[in-house]
Symmetry: C2
Subunit: 278 residues, 2 copies
């Protein structure tokens, strides 16, 4: 069965989007469509150009016999800004205010379209790093962690607060919650991580960083390496931050429970990117 | 800026895949590319044909002034079978056996590629139903629930076992675990669901169905409607099943701890589909 260029373009676009960060050989496409490799190369050039023009991502070509093409998600600053602004607008809604100055974010984290966009943005900042898996802690960070992981094509590992029989043998650690100062426990299945794995920590919200710090201790237990920290929202007014180098999309600057006002700013996303370039 | 057909096809494919179950007007595409509606219609015909041929999904055209085109995920039986077989093969691995006959499935549920495939399959069975949101219970079902929800373009609501300050006011119910007979509690934020919402329940594993039954009780508390139940794995040897009408991809027929054997069969996915047609 022969395929016309137009059909190949539609199918290849879908295939590449579904297989991010994976090297796909020209032969694979050539056999899939019964087309010459030269035609496939031309198709890929069109896809690459369109992906880059429309801010979808980029295609990297690896030459040689074992070579091929790899789709990588990439978000331009021009595309990132409206996403971050949208998030800021959503989070600044005073209806989110809960007793004690907490914010209701469950609806934001429950919307796959928003989570996908935020995940894509966070993932795009780490496509050049060596990441073997994404780690998060139950429950609220899970969707975002999956969104990030799916764009990086790596598995997700979920640290739990409690021990479950379906996890098999586990490693358990104690850590100090940065904001309350209380001792808490986290557990992780022994099978879930290999020694030396490079781990990106993803969470929905970071205050002082106690939970993230707990996950870093967990990495040490597994002899795994911290490859990065990415959070959706960071709280700003923190006396002592336990974690230094992290990426955030939104910064919660001030919460005034009495006046029912939430002040929200852009996180360190753009700053972080500049530092990477220096 | 004018776009060639080849560029339009690549960008439209990406756009439609990112916006499932959403009506997109021809004018939207026509303005996006500075192209005549007649050209856009031709593009869409090519995309529709390729999507159907390659088992990606289908495009439904809604005629008239407020009309447009809607991408719906659709999985052919020929495509569904290898996915279900792959899942069966993964789950039948004797290394998954844990003390007490439990199965370790965390790695399967932690792999975004597998979860995406399973979620696409489950979602495709419910594209004709009116679904307003997907409900699951923390923790293990969350990724699958998101995968299903993203293909149906609806939000996810997560029922918790414990009460968290960040959830605001909650509704709490007690339910009986079907397999242990113990009384358990689940809570859900009051804000998370509207009255009359049509809800698809998604979970990773169903034994007697106590947890799913608990979620149904929760729906009643919110005056919401049950639109369907979809699970990745169902356990077969159950004396009394608390839930009747559900969709499963994999059936766990027998677990022999002593012989280290797990017997796994295809779930009721194909059966369920046939019944729908009758």
């Amino acid at each position: 069965m022969k395929f016309r260029r137009s059909e190949r373009l539609v199918d290849m676009t879908n295939y590449l989007l579904e297989h991010p960060q994976q090297l796909v050989s020209l032969s694979f496409f050539s056999e899939r469509y019964g087309s010459a490799k030269s035609s496939i190369s031309e198709d890929l050039a069109i896809i690459k150009e369109t992906f880059e023009k429309r801010g979808i991502g980029t295609l990297k070509t690896v030459p040689g016999a074992s070579g091929g093409v790899k789709f990588t998600v990439k978000v331009s600053d021009g595309e990132a800004r409206p996403i971050i602004n949208e998030l800021c607008g959503l989070i600044a809604d005073p209806d989110r205010l809960l007793p004690g100055g907490y914010l209701y974010m469950t609806d934001i984290l429950g919307d796959p379209a928003i989570v996908q966009k935020a995940g894509r943005l966070l993932a795009s900042a780490f496509t050049e790093e060596k990441i073997d898996l994404v780690m998060t802690v139950a429950t609220k960070g899970i969707p975002l962690a999956y969104a990030v992981a799916s764009h990086l094509n790596v598995p997700v590992v979920i640290v739990r607060r409690d021990n479950k029989v379906t996890e098999g043998s586990t490693v358990s650690i104690n850590y100090v919650s940065g904001s309350t100062g209380r001792i808490q426990t986290m557990v992780l299945s022994k099978r879930s991580m290999d020694q030396g794995a490079n781990v990106l920590i993803v969470d929905d919200f970071m205050k002082a960083g106690g939970t993230v710090n707990g996950m870093i201790s967990m990495l040490n237990e597994f002899n795994a390496n911290l490859a990065g920290i990415a959070v959706l929202v960071e709280a700003e007014k923190i006396e002592e931050r336990l974690v230094d180098d992290y990426l955030s999309l939104v910064k919660l600057s001030d919460v005034d429970v009495k006046e029912k006002q939430i002040q929200v700013n852009e996180g360190n996303y753009f700053l972080h990117k500049q530092e990477e370039l220096v």
